[in-house]
Structures are given as C-alpha cells and as structure tokens.
Symmetry: C2
Subunit: 420 residues, 2 copies
C-alpha cells in the first residue's frame, strides 16, 4: 500500500471524456489498495476564458476579485471528476481549497501556500475515499476569500498536498512521458531520464524546460517529496499501479541527489528562446551605475537574467549587456529611457533574436573542464557566445537564435547523452 498524489493538468481534463480517462488512472491505483489524493487543474481553455473576461471587465482590477473568478475553473473539474469516480463505484469527494483548508499568503494572484490542515483528508483517505482537490488555490489569511497561486500553481498544490498527507510519491501527469536529456523535437536521440535531482530539475525549469513549475520543485526539495513526471495519455490499463518497488519503471523521478546511484556529469541540455537582449553602450563607468540601471527595472518587476559588463577602451565608459523576458522588452526599454537623467547618456540596442542554451548536471561539481569543453565545441561550429552565466551545476550561454538547434545537438552529443 502506498499513499499517492496524482496531479492532472488542463489538457488531461479538457473535456468529460478525458476526465473519464483520468478517473481510470485513479481507479487503477485505488484497486491496487493505494490511498489517493488527486489534484486537478481547470479544463484546458477555461482559465484563459475567465482571465479574458476579467481583463474585459477592467484592465486594472482587484486581485481578490480576479481570484474569485479564476479559481472557479478548478472547482468545476474537481466536482466533475468526483462524479465520474463515484459512477465507477469509488468513494470520492471534491475539496475546494477553502474547504480543506489550504492556507495561503495574502498575495492574491500569486499567493504562496503557508500550510495545509491535512487531518480531515488523511482520515477520509484512510477510509478509502479518494480526495479530489482543486489545484491552484487556497484560503487567504483573513479566512474569508479565495487566493490563487498564479499560473502553474496546481503543481505546487499537488506537492503541498503530498506533504500534508505524507504521500510516498507525488505523480505529475503531463503530456510527456518524463523528463528528457533535451527536447526530443530537436534531438531525436534525446533520452528519458529515469531519475533527476531536484537541483537539476530546478535548473532545467529555469532554463526553458516547461515540464514542472519551479515552485513545485522547490517545495518538493524542501520537504523531500518524491516527484514523478508521467504521461496521462498512456492507456490507464497499460500502466502498473504505484508500489514502492516499481517507481522507476516509467516516467522520471525527481528526488534527492543521494537517491541517484549513478550520476552523469551532464544530465541535460535546456534551451530558451523567450528572452531578449539589451545592450547599453557608452555608459559612464561610475560607482553605483549598475544599481541605477537595474534598480528601476526591479521596481518595474522586470527580471534580469544574464548580465555582462565590459569596460570600454577609453576606461571611463562601460558596455552592459543583459537579458529580460522578450514579452517585457518594450516596457524595459521605456523604463531605461525614463531613468536616463539618473544613469546619464548611453546608446542602446535590443534584440529578441537570441537563444539561451544551458548545460545542466550535478556531476559538474566534481568535474572540472565542463565549461571549457563546451566553449570549444561551440567555437568549432562557428557559434559566437554573447554572454555566459554559471551556477554550481549549470552553464548557460547566450547565442544567436539561428544557431540554437545546432548548439543543442552539438552539446547533446558532446556530453554523451545521445541514445544508441
């Protein structure tokens, strides 16, 4: 017997037929004697419709009311899934965030989960009842209003529920059957990773791999929740039910580093094309200039990713290149223009025709030369590196977008990730 959280996203519950498919996955687990809590997203398209109504009502709007409207999407799915489960002869009930309750911060629209009262859930699970929980939402501190966690929040809800019910595994059903060494659409020899560490998964997520939401991985890491990425489109009767000795058969397990016996130096190659590069030339090189540039951007909630600063030939000026999300590029340029009186004179150029390629692997910690090998391989292919940023287990480079696929393929081979 295992305690299992199963999370299904919007495309897996897009209509009643697909909800029925989800129910079959759930039934397989219950029939095997497992205790099951299911966390569901809104039916695909629903959240977009709700958000567009809110925006039509008013571009500027009270986040509390936004939450009241948008949280209904998951409530519909949870009720429908509970009904289908009951029709298959299972005991089930839907739980809305406020009913459990899932406590959150007061930051409507992007609230954080502060705690879950899991007692009632655990009691019902022990009686064999399936708990169908609305993802993406909870009850804010004044206990009278619904708060949502922001896009992708259902993954986080699932991990939080897993913590609350002390689940053995938190299975995230998606439209892919696991985490790959890189995007299989670009590299046909990409391989599914049976296991990956939380740290690597976090770097993958922040480097463009969309499989799991970053916050959910952080929460899982902090609480040592074993996450697993699975496909919901595999026929429910073609999968074995969860048992503690067969977790590795399918999907990808995201877990503590020390659960992974054999680590590769590099586990995966990620890429992102949704960033844009801003280059500021001939900025006066005075103390505090970085704060004068990045302060106003931060005030405008614009995240800056990679930063490269070069001293210009005259020694009195500096050139600064950095990246922001492409969709906020126009706003970033406006903010910088407005800050000109504070920054002083500069020339500026921007481009969204760039790609960020990241090499990720926990083995880097103990292996030198990974970066040098990377730079040489790219150089051999004639790919120019615009900027570099590194962490303990990741090296990212910024290159021309045109070379993105070539770079990914080159690096995938370079680090021995190609399947036979």
């Amino acid at each position: 017997m295992a305690v299992v959280v199963m999370k299904f996203g919007g495309t897996s519950v897009a209509d009643v037929d697909r909800i029925r498919n989800v129910a079959r996955h759930v039934k397989r687990e219950v029939d095997a004697g497992n205790q099951v809590a299911v966390v569901v997203s809104a039916m695909a398209g629903t959240t977009n419709q709700l958000v567009s109504w809110v925006r039509e009502a008013s571009v500027l709007h009270d986040a509390r009311e936004y939450d009241a409207v948008v949280a209904t999407g998951e409530q519909v799915t949870a009720g429908l899934l509970a009904i289908v489960l009951q029709s298959m002869g299972l005991q089930a009930r839907s739980w809305q965030g406020w009913q459990i309750p899932i406590h959150t911060s007061a930051a409507h629209g992007s609230a954080r989960i502060s705690g879950i009262e899991g007692g009632a859930l655990r009691e019902r699970l022990a009686q064999g009842e399936v708990a169908v929980v609305t993802g993406f939402q909870g009850l804010e501190p004044d206990r009278n209003r619904v708060a949502t966690l922001g896009r992708g929040g259902s993954d986080t809800s699932a991990v939080a529920i897993a913590v609350a019910i002390k689940a053995d595994v938190c299975d995230i059903y998606t439209d892919v059957d696991g985490v790959y060494t890189t995007d299989p659409r670009i590299v046909s020899k990409a391989q599914r990773l049976p296991k990956i560490s939380y740290e690597e998964m976090l770097e993958m997520a922040s480097s463009g791999s969309k499989v799991l939401q970053t916050r959910s991985v952080e929460l899982a890491m902090t609480n040592h929740v074993r996450l697993r990425v699975l496909s919901s489109f595999v026929a429910p009767d073609k999968m074995r039910a969860v048992s503690l000795d067969n977790l590795e058969d399918i999907g990808t397990i995201v877990c503590d580093e020390d659960e992974i016996m054999e680590t590769h130096i590099v586990s995966g190659i990620a890429y992102a094309k949704d960033e844009a590069k801003i280059t500021m030339l001939k900025v006066e090189d005075k103390p505090g200039i970085a704060a004068r540039i990045f302060g106003p951007l931060a005030d405008a909630s614009i995240n800056v990713d990679m930063i490269v600063q070069n001293v210009a030939a005259d020694g009195r000026h500096t050139d600064m290149t950095f990246t922001v999300q492409a969709n906020v590029l126009p706003r970033a340029l406006e903010v910088l223009k407005a800050a000109k009186s504070d920054i002083g004179n500069f020339d500026i150029s921007a481009s969204a025709d760039i790609a960020k390629i990241s090499v990720i692997g926990i083995g880097m910690r103990s292996h030198a030369g990974v970066a040098a090998k990377m730079f040489k391989a790219l150089s051999d292919k004639g790919i120019n590196i615009i900027a570099i940023s590194t962490s303990e287990i990741k090296i990212s480079v910024l290159i021309d977008a045109a070379y993105a696929e070539l770079a990914v393929r080159t690096l995938h081979s370079l680090y021995g990730l190609d399947a036979d």
Copy 2:
C-alpha cells in the same frame, strides 16, 4: 437614503457589456446615497453548460458535487461585476454564499435558506461599499460544502439578503418592466399593475406567470419584504434612483394586501400550457382508491394539479381526470401501469393538448359570482371546461389548448382589465 437589494438574472449579465450596464444601474443608486447589495445569477447559458457537463459525467450523480460545479457560475458573475463597479470608482466586493455565510438546509440542489449572518454585510454597506452577492447558493449545515437552491434560486437569495440587511425594497430586474394583467403577447391591451399582493403574485406564479420564482414571493410575504419587478433593459440613466416616495413610478410592487388602496376584483389572467391531462376510466369505486392512484405518483415525486372525479353510470365505477406537468407525463403513465395490481383494472387516455386558464384576484374574497360569470362567458364562446379548481383568490379551468388565447382575451375583457 434607502437600503436597496438589486437582483439581476442571467440574461442581464450575459456578457461583460451587459454586466457594465448592470453596474450603471448600481452606480445610479449609490450616487443617490443608497446602500446597495446586488444579487447576481450566472451568465446566461453558463448554468446549462455546467449542468450538461455534470450529466455527461454521470446521469446519476452526487448532488453535493453537482452543487460544487454549478455554483461556480454565479461566482464568476459576482467577481466580474465587483471589478466593473470598482473601475467606475465605487467600492465593491464580491461575496460567495459561504463567505457571508448564507446558511442553508442540507438538501443539495434544492436547499432552503435557513438564515443569513448579515452583520459583516451591514457594516460594509454602511461604509458605502457595494456588496455583490452570488445568488442561488449557500453553505450547508456541516459548514464545509456549497449547497444550491435549485433553478430560480437567485430570486430567493435576493429576498433573503433583503431580510438580512433590512432593505427598504428588493428590486428584481428582469426582461419585462413589471407584472401585467396578462401576457401582453396575447392581449395587446394588457396593462402593467403598479401593485399586486403577495397572495395574488403567488397564484400568478403557480398559474404560469414566470416573472418571479414562487419561493421568493413566499419568503417576501413571510418577512414583509417589498419586492419590485423592473426591467434591466431600460437605460440606467433613464430611471430615477430609489427613494421611499417614488417606488410606484415604475415596475410592479409586490407587497402586503393592506398596502394596496384600491383593489380590483380580478387582478390578472394567467395561463399555462405545460400541463398534461390523464383520464382514467372505469376505475373501481372502492374506499381508498384515490390514495392507491395518487400515492404511487407522489412517491415518484410527480405533482398532481387539478383533479376531477365522476361516478360512472353503473354506480360501481368512477372516472378520474387529473393533470401533471407535461414533461413527466410518460413517467406518470408508467407509474400508473406499474400500480395496476393495486388499483385494479382501468382504461386510460392522456393528452398534452390542454391549457389551464386562471383568473386571480384578492377581491374575489368579498365578491360572489366571479366564477359563474367566468363559466358563462367561456360557454358563450363555445369553450368546453374539462376541469375546475379554485382557491380563495383564484379560479382555474382546464380547456382545449386551441382555445387558450381566445379564453384569455375573453376573460381579460370580461373583468374590465383592457387598457383604454
């Protein structure tokens, strides 16, 4: 200054533009210094969509889950209206049934309101904040699940909120501009009634007039809440704000009988075409036979309306004619067939080609001869009466559907209701 409840149905909030129109009605009241609670239905079509998903999930379903799904419709409207009101510079917040809370019975899907904690609402209203309340729903006794009141329940929610905040008037905005002496589509000379008593309104509602939901009128009557029926499609700036001395200017006020100075003998003519007639011939006339026929129908939750029993010529048998809602006719016939062993032999015929015409008026209590006059007028037009039922303030007759319009027009003239 007045305390006003404004209730808007599904067609009045069918899209964001119409919600904006509703907001203008609300703003007019707030600008005039009134305290306003608004009760809203789901956007037209939404509830049907939600119900059809539930049915697709399972024909037989847990009413608690049905409620969890279907109650989301009003939650969306309430949030959107609050956002639009705020964008017009008003203070507003949405209140879901469980947040107030509106307490209900445990009868999911057709719960009754058992009480409302109005303290928080009254406090916010006194501070000038508009309360936007989800109609149709509340919190059931175990305080952890949403219960809905059934179709049309938003009218009842509005009256209950009016009781809780001690409103001066509960304005029900609909697609008609008041209650008419009869359906203006049939009788062009039909007139709007400035006032009508609760009792008459109840008889109108149960006799086919769809303006107000019966339970809401009952609740208003019990608590002496002044109801008013208004059109939401009149331009918001073409209506005067509520003040206690101009309520009668527009719409129809539903109120205590003693608030109506001049009563007519007959206030209105209602008709219903959604009933069907069942005639059972040659039923053995033994004691308890009525119970053997109507018991099984009641057990199957089939309401019987008009009943006529005649003794057959042989003195040992009886003929029984009664009406049921047309949509349950096939089920009623099955129930009777199944009960044949208990009832004994009988012949049966049924028809949905009938109409019920009702003459309603509080003045009947003190005026004799209303019925005799009615029967003669119908007879003069060659209209045969199949069955008759009466209450203190109503006479209903069952006739062939083909004569329905003729009968309504004849009676409307007969009792002096035609406009000049």
